[in-house]
């Protein structure tokens, strides 16, 4: 039992640690969870979400989503809105894998059409999308070209023929955060990342073939609006981020912030991983710009991978991506900081929203959403474990209090070390195949770490988001094939 005695139940699915819980808390901390999820939460969540509540300039609450678990700095699932005028920006509130995110792509194929070619499909995806530790991409760039990639994101891909205009429309912020200036990037970050465009990476990154079964459609109207129109329709979901480039940007600025935080700005924090600088300081602004470069690299990375996925489908099914209906549902970012306007006491106010392992989930009618999603709310893509399934949700109007944010995945319950001791990758691969899920991986050790039992119950997590009014269930998607990074 790790739940602190001070934790108060505000409503069925909202829990609060008051400011008296820890010295220095400026706002209370709120956790969205069912009774079961809150009881299972690891102690790190309570420690870290209350640490976040001490950050200068934090507004309203430090939040944690139902998939929350122990991270570094912020908990995974953490959300903090700062006053841009008085608040700080913290790389620990964004994560090293800046704009790690999810993309969901439709096809007009059914499971019956794909099953006979599933092994070929997965084998070809595995051969064509570089995965694993230190993998380099198929897009060969000079370092100067890479600077254009990180400043332009998906727009660079559009110019190079790796994207359609429609892809950009269906990506958060059009696939490019404006204000990304590569002069704030170290040579080291460029050197580390310029040959990784179009790579999946490793760990919990994957590309999955999934099926929307009729019995798993929760909201038929929204499912149709999101493009799920055929029974047993096959979709492609993938998860990856800004690769070594983003990791280096975060490392560079973590060190810079550690060196100036106390000395120059007099900020003392309980956890050095929360190292921060005033948002409007030269260091804060430089990081914000560098972080945007990493955000754009991740959008471009997912876009180039999508291009490869379309090529593979097109070759195998002997039809163009258009004829196969390979349209994007949406692309969501998990690890970002963004300036957004939200409701406040006196009308609209601008906030710097840190989301770490959490997803923006705009409700219906929110400016910035594509026209086709104005009535439904934003599609939210929740990646579950490779064994259990994933979800497509939609943002809700009632999510305004939490700055329109929801969960991002299932959330781990078992350490990687423990999972590796508990499961065998090769056996897991065979067991999954027996259950109709064909998996390819470079690493059986890595596969074992991602076993379904190492994660929370995805059904419970998404139900908690709906009960808390953050996001609504639209469809559950079950895996039939997976390439694991």
């Amino acid at each position: 039992m790790t739940v602190p005695a001070a934790l108060k139940r505000i409503s069925a699915n909202i829990w609060e640690l008051p400011v008296s819980y820890k010295e220095g808390m400026l706002v209370p901390a709120r956790i969205f969870a069912t009774e079961k999820l809150i009881q299972e939460m690891d102690a790190g969540v309570f420690e870290q979400v209350s640490n976040v509540a001490t950050l200068p300039g934090i507004q309203r609450y430090a939040y944690c989503m139902p998939d929350g678990h122990w991270g570094y700095g912020f908990p995974i699932g953490g959300v903090a809105a700062m006053d841009p005028g008085t608040g700080v920006i913290s790389p620990g509130g964004i994560g090293f894998d800046i704009n790690c995110g999810m993309r969901l792509v439709l096809t007009n194929l059914t499971a019956d059409q794909v099953r006979p070619k599933l092994h070929q499909l997965i084998d070809r995806l595995f051969a064509r999308i570089p995965t694993g530790v230190g993998c380099h991409g198929f897009v060969k760039l000079k370092q100067d070209d890479f600077r254009s990639v990180v400043q332009q994101g998906s727009r660079w891909c559009l110019k190079q023929g790796f994207a359609t205009q429609d892809d950009l429309l269906m990506t958060e912020e059009g696939g490019c955060f404006p204000g990304a200036d590569a002069s704030h990037i170290s040579e080291k970050a460029i050197e580390r990342g310029y040959n990784q465009l179009g790579t999946l990476g490793s760990g919990n990154h994957y590309c999955e073939i999934q099926v929307a079964k009729p019995e798993n459609i929760w909201d038929a109207e929204r499912a149709e609006a999101f493009g799920l129109t055929v029974p047993n329709q096959v979709v492609v979901m993938f998860h990856c981020g800004s690769r070594g480039f983003g990791h280096q940007v975060a490392t560079d600025y973590l060190k810079l912030f550690l060196s100036v935080m106390g000395r120059k700005y007099g900020i003392r924090l309980v956890d050095r991983e929360l190292a921060c600088a005033p948002f409007h300081s030269p260091e804060g602004q430089a990081y914000f710009s560098a972080m945007k470069c990493a955000v754009n690299m991740a959008f471009a990375n997912r876009q180039v991978i999508l291009h490869r996925i379309r090529e593979v489908f097109s070759d195998l099914f002997q039809a163009s991506p258009d004829d196969l209906g390979m349209r994007m549902v949406y692309d969501v970012a998990h690890n970002t900081a963004k300036l957004e306007k939200h409701k406040a006491n006196s009308g609209q106010k601008e906030f710097l929203i840190h989301r770490k392992g959490s997803t923006r989930a705009f409700g219906p009618g929110t400016p910035g959403l594509p026209e086709c999603y104005q009535n439904t709310g934003q599609p939210v893509i929740i990646g579950g474990s490779m064994e259990t399934g994933s979800y497509l949700l939609s943002g809700m109007s009632s999510g305004a209090d939490a700055f329109f944010t929801t969960a991002h995945g299932s959330g781990r319950t078992m350490s990687r070390h423990q999972a590796k001791k508990s499961f065998r990758g090769d056996k897991l691969q065979r067991d999954m195949e027996a259950r109709g899920i064909y998996v390819r991986t470079d690493s059986f050790g890595g596969l074992a770490e991602e076993a379904g039992d190492a994660y929370k119950d995805i059904d419970e997590v998404v139900e908690a988001t709906e009960l808390a009014g953050l996001s609504k269930r639209v469809a559950r998607l079950v895996p039939i094939g997976n390439i694991k990074g």
């Binding site: 230190g134 760990g203 070594g244 956890d271 990687r416 070390h417 423990q418 050790g445």
Partner: protein, 143 residues
């Protein structure tokens, strides 16, 4: 026991403790613990390539942070799996320096069974301490 992975900190990431009699041995153990996350069999790494290393930091602790970050950098930038060969520590006007070499080779999927990528060294519970006898470090890696 020169290093030990911990399952009780940050379960989505990888935490380890390392112990050694000397600072140099501690750095070597921490390097092994970091690289073992990515490749199970460190003995499979052949020392065919050498990289020069020169780091300056305000503390020995931050020197360890930079040192481990270098290993992670070369894994992405040059696809190299490296371990320390020679390490020499010295004092500077502003703190501490480390000069030496890293040795290893490029990832070869035919011989190297790779595991989980390490993205970064985090500052969560990061510590390097001199004990009555020897040194001890705690490191949480983002994976």
């Amino acid at each position: 026991m020169p290093f030990e992975y911990r399952g009780d900190i940050a379960n989505a990431d990888v935490a380890f403790n390392a112990w050694a009699d000397t600072l140099e041995e501690l750095f070597r153990e921490a390097a092994r613990a970091t690289m073992r996350v990515m490749i199970d069999d460190l003995a499979a790494i052949r020392a065919t390539q050498t990289v020069e290393l020169q780091l300056d930091q305000e503390s020995e602790e931050m020197l360890l942070f930079d040192f481990l970050s270098e290993l992670i950098f070369y894994k992405d930038a040059r696809r190299q799996l490296l371990l320390p060969a020679q390490l020499a520590f010295y004092k500077t006007d502003t703190g501490f320096g480390l000069k030496g070499t890293l040795q290893g080779e490029e990832i070869d999927m035919a011989r190297h069974e790779m595991s989980t990528d390490v993205k970064a060294v985090t500052m969560l519970r990061f510590s390097l301490a001199r004990l009555a006898e020897g040194w001890r470090a705690t490191v949480v890696l983002d994976v």
